[in-house]
């Protein structure tokens, strides 16, 4: 079964071969390394840039304006903050020019905690991204969605953030979730993973994969339930599923887990359907809690579904602290963990209406 990072690499390959991708670029994205997480190994159009995030985003915009199909990478989202005005520019050019110039680009960047990444390899970017209108924002929680969302992002005529939950990049697909046309695991690894050490003579052998376009703006019900709704994405999906399974076993009630997949546009219909059913909701994500995307969802839920709620909505998010510390205890205390999610679901389930 492909890992998420393999699925992303395969989607980029399909993008180059069939969907017009012209440039895949960023720091250490081209040969010999092929990305610090191996996401761009062996790709034909991958090239290395100077260590200059502003240049990467500016180049992506310029290539897009010139009719190309660029996929840029910021090596860690922690280093994207000096590009904010260029990100705004990518998001506002179509609007500001009154529909004259659209900006079809993909910007991928690893986000979030979970690998003991210390202060500057643990940032989240989802709240910041949702503050930049004009972008579509996707964040997969599994290899299959990573593949399908990347292909949709490549085909979209607008700028798309592809947020990669870095703790999940080595996660394998679950049974039944293999990519369309994917060979067995050992064969796949031999075909597309570069050898360690000297790889100057290495070339990948790409499997014949079929297209899959996971629609941007469409959530996935990752687990059905009727008692509580968890709205989450990325790394926290697997955590929420585990919490829900444990509660089902221990407490005997079923929790619904919505994997949002797209943060903008987001699937309001799926949220409404689930919250109407369960009447209890918690939003879970890793970004810092003040002005958090989950806060927006809760505000809208309160605005539009107030009289259907049987408990006050909750937000489980990252602590509002400057950075995430390295030590185990520090990282675990800084971002949501399974225990906290479980406690919040239980609290909602027990709340008397």
């Amino acid at each position: 079964m492909a890992t998420m990072i393999q699925a992303i690499r395969l989607a980029l390959h399909v993008g180059e071969k069939r969907h017009g991708v012209t440039d895949i670029f960023g720091q250490d994205v081209g040969p010999p390394l092929g990305g610090v997480f191996t996401g761009t190994q062996g790709l034909e159009t991958a090239w290395n840039t100077p260590l200059d995030e502003r240049g990467i985003v500016g180049t992506a915009i310029g290539l897009a304006l010139a009719g190309q199909r660029p996929v840029g990478e910021i090596q860690f989202c922690d280093y994207a903050f000096n590009t904010i005005d260029l990100l705004k520019l990518a998001g506002n050019t179509y609007w500001a020019s009154g529909g004259d110039w659209n900006v079809p680009l993909v910007l991928m960047t690893p986000v979030g905690a979970g690998i003991r990444g210390a202060p500057y390899h643990s940032h989240s970017f989802d709240a910041t991204a949702t503050r930049i209108p004009g972008w579509k924002i996707v964040m997969p929680s599994n290899p299959l969605d990573a593949y399908g969302l990347m292909l949709s992002a490549i085909r979209d005529p607008n700028p798309v953030f592809f947020l990669m939950p870095k703790a999940l990049l080595r996660m394998k697909a679950r049974p039944g979730e293999q990519l369309p046309g994917e060979p067995d695991e050992k064969t796949l690894n031999q075909m597309i993973d570069a050898p360690l050490g000297d790889r100057s003579a290495w070339k990948p052998r790409w499997p014949e994969l079929e297209d899959l376009f996971t629609p941007i703006g469409k959530a996935r019900v990752a687990r059905e339930g009727d008692r509580v709704t968890v709205i989450t994405y990325g790394r926290n999906v697997a955590m929420s599923l585990a919490a829900a399974d444990e509660l089902a076993a221990d407490e005997g009630f079923q929790t619904e887990v919505i994997d949002l997949r797209s943060l903008h546009p987001y699937d309001w219909e799926a949220i409404v359907a689930s919250v109407r059913k369960t009447t209890r909701v918690v939003c879970v994500n890793e970004d810092t809690e003040i002005t958090n995307f989950g806060e927006h969802l809760i505000r809208r839920i309160v605005d539009e579904l107030f009289y259907e709620l049987h408990a006050p909505p909750k937000l489980i998010a990252g602590a509002h602290i400057p950075l995430i510390g390295l030590a185990d205890n520090l990282e675990m205390a800084s971002v949501p963990q399974k225990g906290g999610i479980k406690a919040a679901i239980l609290d909602l389930a027990r709340h008397e209406a």
Binding site: P50, G55, G58, G62, A64, G67, L86, A96, K136
Partner: protein
């Protein structure tokens, strides 16, 4: 040049009469901006020149063939403004059919964006199109200027990019000496191994020749070039500082008129008649533009997302 000057004067008048909220523009850069517009390979796509201009580029737009009335529309922020549909300040041009990339208010971002269009042109086999990017002197303190120097000059990956600095020796109220320790900005290009040149941007004969040579170099060599043109800022930074006439700096339109008179190519009477004709034309147009529809409140959501890839050739 004269028509560009009269256009800017009309825009300032419109601002002062309440037919617009803010003025910024290019009086004092016409001797540079007009020849630039005359020399570019105008068209759409990588086979033609991309222009990443700034908000003092009205002369370039007119030389390309833009209708000056469209600038009035943007000043009046009407729905008929073809550059931004009433959304942006004067001088914020956007013309995809001529590769004029939208002018931005953030200073110098165009130097990072230009790398992308230049890279697309570098890849296109046999293409002669180049990327032209222009900004002022104060903006070169931004990191994007260094970004353009670094990315355009990498060995084996050089970009067909003409970088232009129009140096009016001001950044709003900050003097040139207040922010630059070096004598000329063009000096910075030398460290990157690219040809550089400093010219008198107030003399259209000088600028035309220098631009022609620089464009030719970039077009044939497919490598970067840094050109610095010394220009004037004849109405201050913008309407925020009053947009009043600055008498201490050379006026390129006056100087060129004197030259044409001295050479017997045009008489004072002919020049005055031309000026009166342009003034009347734009005065009448400003009155007409006043009657054109304003954008509707509901239009704020339009063009947030594209449904088709216009820049990719879809329509």
């Amino acid at each position: 040049m004269l028509r560009a000057r009269v256009l800017e004067e009309r825009l300032i008048t419109m601002y002062k009469q309440g037919d617009g909220f803010f003025w910024i523009g290019g009086p004092g850069e016409e001797a540079f901006s007009v020849p630039l517009g005359l020399l570019v390979d105008k068209g759409q796509g990588v086979d033609h020149d991309y222009m990443h201009l700034h908000y003092r580029s009205s002369g370039t737009l007119l030389a390309l063939g833009a209708d000056p009335v469209d600038s009035l529309r943007q000043m009046k922020n009407t729905a008929t403004d073809p550059y931004s549909r009433g959304r942006n300040f004067a001088g914020h041009f956007s013309v995809r059919k001529w590769n004029v990339v939208p002018v931005t208010s953030p200073i110098e971002v165009q130097f990072s964006v230009a790398i992308g269009t230049a890279r697309a042109q570098r890849k296109a086999t046999g293409a002669k199109g180049i990327t032209i990017v222009q900004g002022g002197d104060a903006g070169t303190a931004e990191g994007d200027f260094a970004t353009a120097l670094v990315w355009s000059s990498r060995k084996g990956s050089e970009l067909p990019m003409l970088m232009i600095v129009t140096n009016n020796r001001w950044g709003i109220s900050t003097s040139y000496e207040g922010q630059h320790g070096y004598t000329q900005i063009a000096e910075r290009g030398k460290a990157f191994g690219m040809p550089t040149r400093v010219i008198d941007g107030n003399d259209p004969e000088v600028t035309h020749q220098a631009l022609k040579e620089a464009i030719e170099y970039v077009r044939t060599e497919r490598k970067p070039y840094l050109l610095e043109a010394m220009v004037s800022r004849l109405r201050g930074h913008s309407s925020a500082s009053g947009a009043n006439v600055v008498k201490e700096e050379p006026d390129c339109v006056d100087l060129f008129e004197q030259k044409l008179e001295a050479r017997g190519l045009l008489s004072r009477k002919q020049i005055d008649e031309k000026r009166a004709e342009y003034t009347a034309e734009l005065s009448a147009a400003a009155k007409r533009v006043r009657e054109e529809p304003m954008p509707s409140p509901g239009s704020i959501h339009d063009y947030t997302f594209a449904d088709v890839n216009h820049v990719g050739g879809e329509s």
